[in-house]
Amino acid sequence: MNSSSENGNEFHQKVHPDTLVIGAGIAGIQASLEIANAGYKVYLVEKSGTIGGHMAMFDKTFPTLDCAACILTPKMVEVGQHSRIDLLTCSEVTEVNGYPGAFKVKIHKKARFVDQQLCIGCGSCAAKCPGKAPSEFDSGTALRKAIYIPFPQAVPNKYLIDPESCLYMQTDGKKCGVCVKFCPVNDCIDLHAMDEELNIEVGNIVIATGFKIFDAKKVARFGYGKFPNVLTSLELERLINAGGPTEGKITFRTKDKKGNWVFKPDGGAPDSVAIIHCVGSRDENCNAYCSKVCCMYSLKLAHLVKEKLPATAVYEYFIDMRAFGKGYEEFYQRIKKEGVHMIRGKTAKIEEIKGSLKLRSEDILNNRIIEQLADMVILAVGLEPSDGVKQLSEMIGVEIDANGWYKELDSLLDPVGTARQGVTIAGVCQGPKDIPDTVAQASAAAARVLQSIESLKEVEFI
C-alpha cells in the first residue's frame, strides 16, 4: 500500500487526532479515558450491549480483594458521560482502509431498538416481555428477557432488544409487540429500527478485544454440561456477585418450571467444593499455553467460597501454583492458612454418583490416589482469543500468533506496538494477563497514541 507517490510531497502526513478503540473491557476503557482526558476524541467500539467486559462480572479482584465494581463502575460512568468519547455499542468494525495517521474505518452499528436518548430505564417493557434467553452477562447462570439491560450498572444504562429471542422479530411481527404498549415514553421502542453503517476517519487504532473463556465441554471427562453442578469459574463469579442471579449465594444448579437449568437463591448450598486448575490450558490437546490468571482467580474463588460458607470444605487440584505478581505469593499463603486444601495433581475424571461428584486424582506429594466426593466442582477454565480476531487482524493488517493472540512488535521492548504503525494492542487480546497488567498496557498504548498525535510527527506509510 504505497500511496506516497499520489500524495506527492505530502509523504509526511499529519496524524488525524481522533482515535479508534476496539473493545470496551477494562483495557479499552482505560485507553479511551487516558486519550480523551488528554484532550482528544475517541471512538470506542463495543460488540456487546454494554461496556465493562469481563471485569464487570466479578465481585472481588485478586490479590487485594478489592470490590471490582467500586473500581470499574466510576470509570464506566466516566466513559458514558465523556464529551470526547463517542461510545458505539452493539457495533463492530467491518472495514479498515487508508493508512497509519489516516485510517478510514467502516463500522456496523446494530440496532438496539430502544432509543438511547428517550429510554428512562424504568424496565416496564422487560417486566411484560415473554421472550427469554440465557443472560450473557450472567454467563448463562440465569435467564434474561428479550428486551433487557445487561446489568443494573450497564453503560449505556439503557435497555436493548436481542432480535434472536424477541418473539416479534422471530415471527416477522405476527406475535407480541407488548413492550411497545407498556413503555411509558412515546416512540422510545422501535421494533423496526435498522442497523447503521458509520464511516469515520482516525489517526490511530487501539485493539482491546480481550478474551473468551475456554469451552469446558471440550474436556468431556469433566462432565461439564452433563453434570449440573460442574461449573465454570465464570459461573461461580456470577453466583458470588451480590448482583448475580443468587444475590451472592453459592447454590446448586436447579431446574426451573420450564425445565431450564438455572441458579436461584434457594438452590441449597454445597458442603464441599473442588476447584480444578488448568482446564483447557497447558494441555497439548487444547491450548498449550498457561492462561496466567486462573491460579490466582482460583485462590480468590476459594477464599470467597470460604467467606460465604465457612463450614464448606474447599479443595484445589493444581499442577503448579503460579502466583507470579506483587503480593500474589503472600495471597497464596494466606488462602492456605484459611484452611483451603491444596492438592498437587490434576483431577483426571469426574463421575456423578447419586447427585454427588466423584473426582479421581493423584495426590502427587503424598503418593496416593484420591477419590473424592464433592458437591460442586469448579473448572478453572483458561482464556482464549475472542471470536473474530482473525477477520479483524486481517482487516487492520496486523498479525496474530498461532494461538490467536495479537502479535506485539517486540515482546521485550515494545509489548504494545504492532508491526503496523498506528495500531497498538492492549489487554488480554495480546495474551493472557490480569487486570493490573491490562491497565498498565492500556495506559502504555494510550501514551503511544498521544505521542503520535502530539508530536505532530509524520508517519511513514506502510
Binding site: D320, K346, I364, R368, I369, I370
Partner: protein, 398 residues
C-alpha cells in the same frame, strides 16, 4: 515401590537406551498426575504410569528394572490419549515391558532380538531351516503317498512319510513338541524366577509371609484365565479382542503340545466334533484379533498403535503365517491333496516352531506368563503392606 536404598544409582543415558524399546516424549512429562489418576488399573501401592516416568527421568535404571508396574498395565491408551504433554506414558509402560523381558532373560538373546531385527530374522530363519531340512532328510514323502486317502476322501496325514508307521510318526512329532516345550518352558521358568528375584527378593523393604503365597495363589490362575484386570479398562472391546486371542492361542498350544495324538488323526471327524470346534474357535479368535491389529497398526490409531516396534510386526507376521498355513493345511487335507498336504505341513511347522521358540521365552509371548505373575507378586506385596498397615488406606479427604 521398590527398595530405595539399592536403587539410587543414576544412569543418565537410560532414557536414550529405552527409546530402542518404544517411542515417547517421556522427558516432556510435567507431572500433572493425570495419567495415574485416569488409569483404571493404578491403585495405592502401585501407582503408574507417572511414577515410572519420574523414575525414568531421574535415570534410576535399577529401580525400573525391579519394578512390577509395567506388567500391571494392559495398554488401554487412556493415559496417552489425555496426557497434556503428549508424553505418551502408555508407550513407556510398553517399552518397559519389552525392556524387562530382556532383563529377565539370562541368555542375552532377548536383548539381541529386541534391539536388532536382523538378529531376530536370522534366528527365525535358522530354526525354520532346521525344521525343513530335518523333514526332508529324515521324514521324506513316501513314493506311494497318493494312496493315503481315507474313505471320506481326506488325506491320512500320519501315513505320508516313508519308513515310519503312522503311530510312530505322531509319536515322533510329539517328542519334538515335548522337546520344544521343555526348552521353552525351562527358559521361561528360569526367567520368571529371575523376575521374582528382581521384584520380590531384592526388594528389602517388604518381607512376604509364606502364608500370603498360598492365600494369593488363586490370583495367578484367575488372572491368567480371565484377564480380569483388563476388563476394568473402559474400552471393553480391547479386553474382548485380547481375550479371544489369548484363549485361541492357548487352546491351540495345548491341543498341539498335550493332545496331539487325539488331534492329529487319520480320519476326518465331523464338523461338530470337539476338536474341530476348538480348532475353529481358536482360528477365528486369532484371525479376528489379527485383522483388527493389522488395521490399527497401519492406521496408527488408536494411540496405542501409533508406534509399532519391529518385534510387533514380526509377531503379527509369524502368527498370521502360522494361522494361514494351518487353514490351508486343513483345506488340503479335506480335499485329499496329498503332496500339498505334506509340504504345507512342513511349512506350517517351519513357521510355528520358530515363533514359539523365539516369542515365548524371549519376546512378546512371554508376557503371557509375566503378567499373571506380576499381578500375583503385586498382590503379595499389597498383602504385606496391608498387614503392616503401612498403606495409607483412607485418603485424608473423602
Amino acid at each position: 515401590m521398590g527398595g530405595l536404598t539399592m536403587n539410587t544409582r543414576v544412569n543418565p543415558d537410560f532414557e536414550k537406551e529405552l527409546q530402542k524399546y518404544g517411542k515417547g516424549n517421556w522427558n516432556e512429562c510435567f507431572h500433572c498426575g493425570n495419567c495415574t489418576a485416569i488409569c483404571p488399573l493404578s491403585e495405592d501401592g502401585f501407582l503408574f504410569p507417572r511414577n515410572s516416568i519420574r523414575t525414568l527421568q531421574m535415570g534410576l535404571e535399577k529401580k525400573l528394572e525391579t519394578s512390577i508396574e509395567p506388567w500391571l498395565c494392559y495398554y488401554c491408551g487412556d493415559c496417552s490419549e489425555t496426557c497434556p504433554r503428549d508424553a505418551n506414558p502408555g508407550e513407556l509402560m510398553m517399552a518397559l515391558r519389552r525392556y524387562l523381558t530382556t532383563r529377565y532373560d539370562w541368555t542375552g538373546l532377548s536383548k539381541k532380538f529386541y534391539t536388532s531385527a536382523v538378529w531376530e530374522y536370522a534366528a527365525i530363519a535358522i530354526i525354520a531351516l532346521l525344521v525343513i531340512v530335518s523333514f526332508l532328510v529324515f521324514l521324506p514323502l513316501r513314493p506311494d503317498a497318493a494312496l493315503m486317502v481315507n474313505e471320506s476322501g481326506g488325506v491320512m496325514i500320519n501315513s505320508l512319510v516313508a519308513g515310519v508307521s503312522p503311530d510312530r510318526f505322531v509319536t515322533l512329532i510329539e517328542y519334538g513338541d515335548w522337546l520344544m516345550a521343555v526348552i521353552v518352558g525351562g527358559l521361561l521358568i528360569t526367567n520368571i524366577f529371575n523376575m521374582y528375584y528382581k521384584t520380590i527378593i531384592a526388594d528389602k523393604t517388604v518381607k512376604i509371609p509364606l502364608s500370603a503365597y498360598f492365600k494369593e495363589f488363586w490370583q495367578l490362575i484367575y488372572n491368567f484365565v480371565t484377564q480380569a484386570s483388563f476388563s476394568k479398562c473402559e474400552k471393553r472391546s480391547y479386553w474382548l479382542g485380547h481375550l479371544l486371542l489369548m484363549t485361541g492361542y492357548t487352546i491351540m498350544f495345548i491341543i498341539v503340545v498335550v493332545f496331539l495324538p487325539y488331534f492329529q488323526i487319520e480320519e476326518v471327524v465331523p464338523v461338530w466334533h470337539w476338536q474341530r470346534l476348538l480348532g475353529y474357535y481358536a482360528t477365528f479368535g486369532i484371525l479376528f484379533f489379527l485383522g483388527i491389529v493389522i488395521f490399527q497398526r497401519l492406521r496408527k490409531n488408536p494411540i496405542t498403535m501409533k508406534f509399532s516396534h519391529a518385534s510387533d510386526w514380526i509377531f503379527i507376521i509369524m502368527l498370521a503365517l502360522t494361522t494361514l498355513t494351518g487353514i490351508i493345511l486343513h483345506i488340503f487335507r479335506l480335499a485329499g491333496m496329498v503332496e500339498a498336504t505334506y509340504y504345507t505341513y512342513i511349512i506350517h511347522l517351519a513357521v510355528l516352531v520358530p515363533m514359539i521358540v523365539i516369542e515365548v521365552p524371549f519376546s512378546k509371548w512371554s508376557h503371557l506368563a509375566y503378567r499373571p505373575f506380576a499381578i500375583y507378586f503385586s498382590k503379595l506385596k499389597l498383602a504385606t503392606l496391608k498387614e503392616k498397615s503401612v498403606r495409607k488406606l483412607a485418603p485424608a479427604i473423602s
